[in-house]
């Protein structure tokens, strides 16, 4: 019974923790402009993140060491540094976007300008990174993130033309007035949002924090293979509800307030309160995860003591770094840069960094010395190789499409 509860809790927190500011904004933008014609990209991205999260979780469970730790050792400092710079740069950008996202969500209930809220939000994030217990942070914020299920319920309640939605989904039916280049840009952005690198760093480092062993592989797989796809359904529900409510009005999404409108239309103030709770939990949880991921990746590369399972004074450099990146995020956001724009940039650059993140994981998961009998099988290698081609194409297209379409304008 206890084991079953553990699996249920893991799956629920994986669902609630799946969506972040990038998923919220990008899915709503795509839903409003393209309906469900890009739903296949979300599905492709969710399967991809499942493949690599399972691999990195397995590596952590078997070796007791996290991704960057092994990447540098297995592929050498140069490849490790390339991996670090690409992935950490994107994760840092995502961290800035998530803190901005929390401030934007709080602005919706306080009407205080988000720039004024940023220092308080950042202080709270830093306090949790410094003092909060890892399991409490992950479980509480993950469970509160489940409030976003309100988007799925709202979609059903709104009573859309399901056959029209299914037609868009299955026929990849792009609206006539949109260009294929813009459609392709958003496909890459959605893919980047679904496969954002920090998720695997956080997942594998979290496994080390929670002292996974080979016995925990089953639980880890349940979290990934059930939790992540259900989290992906939340992304599709956000896109679907935006398609039903915002699409017919010709609204292009550029604020978090617009993202919540379908829920307000379906359930009024009560539904909206639940959605805002979901926004805050999802972005706050992701801010903690991305902040930690920056610290994890740097500390693991340089061989510093890291993690929340050791006292802060033992992992002083790790905690100093967390404080430093939090200050950096505040410095960026108080310039009045639009957090939504930072989010859009982060998902595009996430697509660019994907090969740097996922290629080393595939190599390490194939190393018998680390993995023993748990080395990648044919299925994992087949899927991993397929996804390396896909992420390579997405990475190559991301910047040219961003310039060509002027960020999908």
């Amino acid at each position: 019974m206890k084991k079953l509860l553990g699996i249920a809790l893991g799956v629920l927190t994986a669902i609630g923790g799946f969506v972040d500011i990038g998923d919220l904004v990008t899915n709503a933008q795509v839903g409003a402009r393209f309906g469900l014609s890009l739903a296949w990209v979300v599905m492709l991205g969710v399967l991809g993140i499942c493949v690599f999260a399972e691999m990195s979780g397995r590596v952590a469970a078997v070796s007791g060491r996290a991704t960057f730790d092994l990447v540098r050792e297995r592929l050498g400092p140069r490849m490790g540094l390339l991996n670090l710079v690409g992935s950490m740069g994107v994760t840092l950008l995502t961290f800035v976007a998530e803190i901005g996202g929390v401030a934007l969500a709080l602005q919706l209930v306080t009407s205080v300008n988000h720039v004024l809220l940023v220092p308080a939000v950042a202080l709270l994030v830093w306090l949790i990174l410094w003092r909060g217990r890892f399991s409490v942070m992950e479980d509480v914020l993950g469970l509160l993130g489940l409030a976003l299920v309100v988007f799925a319920v709202a979609l059903v309640h709104l009573g859309p033309d399901w056959s029209a939605l299914a037609h868009e989904w299955l026929t990849v039916d792009k609206p006539g007035e949109e260009s294929w280049s813009t459609w392709a840009f958003y496909a890459v952005a959605l893919f980047g949002a679904a496969m954002t690198p920090y998720e695997v760093f956080f997942f594998s480092s979290g496994g080390v924090e929670e002292k996974w062993t080979a016995k925990d592989i089953g639980l880890m797989r349940a979290n990934v293979l059930i939790g992540f796809p259900l989290g992906g359904l939340l992304s599709l529900a956000i896109a679907g509800s935006a398609s039903v409510v915002l699409g017919p009005e010709g609204i292009t999404v550029d604020t978090l307030g617009q993202v919540g409108m379908p829920v307000a239309e379906a359930f009024g103030k009560i539904g909206l309160a639940v959605a805002i709770l979901g926004f805050v939990a999802a972005t706050f949880g992701a801010a903690c995860e991305t902040g930690l991921s920056v610290g994890y990746s740097v500390a693991q590369y340089f061989g510093w003591q890291w993690g929340k399972y050791v006292r802060p004074d033992v992992a002083a450099r790790f905690h100093l770094l967390l404080g430093g990146v939090t200050l950096l995020a505040v410095a960026v956001l108080v310039t009045s840069v639009d957090p939504i724009m930072v989010t859009e940039m982060s998902v595009v650059f996430s697509a660019v960094a994907l090969p740097l993140t996922y290629f080393p994981i595939l190599v390490v998961a194939n190393d018998h010395d680390y993995m023993g009998e748990h080395v990648n099988g044919r299925l994992a290698n087949g899927l991993g190789s397929f996804y390396l081609v896909v992420v390579g194409v997405a990475a190559a297209l991301a910047i040219p499409l961003m310039i060509w379409t002027r960020m999908g304008a």
Binding site: L108, T110, G250, I251, T252, D254, T255, G257, K269, L272
Partner: protein
């Protein structure tokens, strides 16, 4: 390394080449560049679409204002007003090509009117005034912007 005499004869030539290469673009940078008619239409159409989206957002928010918290509605309206103002201002800074001068007047004036309407709505929302009268005006403005956006996809004349 060349000797000093070589440098004396080469240096003015290099300077002249640099002036010829860099001068015209720098001088051109002093005056606003004039986009061709197609590029201006694309910019104008994008700005009109952006403002239309903001007007439609506020229209939707006002229709559902009983379902929104005051702070939520205020934030949405302020965001829309700022975004519409920025889009209108950005387009007004673009030098219109001669063939599109007439439409430039029409577009900038329509965008300014839409931004002013959003400012009126923001004042009404913050002052808790009745909002129903604005719904019709917002719908009409969104329709007008939609028509203008469609027309901007074709050359003038």
């Amino acid at each position: 390394m060349g000797n000093r005499a070589d440098m004396r004869t080469t240096a003015p030539r290099v300077l002249l080449a640099l002036v010829l290469l860099v001068g015209p673009p720098l001088l051109a940078g002093c005056a606003p560049g004039t986009p061709d008619a197609g590029a201006w239409r694309a910019d104008a159409s994008r700005a009109t679409g952006d403002v239309r989206s903001e007007v439609a957002t506020v229209g939707l928010a006002l229709r559902r204002h009983d379902d929104l918290f005051d702070s939520y509605l205020q934030t949405m309206v302020v965001d829309a007003e700022e975004a519409a103002g920025a889009a209108a201002e950005k387009l007004s800074a673009v030098q219109p090509p001669t063939a599109e001068l007439e439409r430039h007047e029409e577009v900038t004036s329509t965008l300014d009117d839409a931004a002013s309407l959003l400012s009126e709505v923001r004042i009404a929302v913050v002052r808790h005034e009745p909002l129903t009268p604005y719904v019709g005006r917002l719908t009409a403005t969104a329709d007008e912007l939609d028509g203008l956006e469609q027309r901007l996809r074709r050359p003038a004349g």
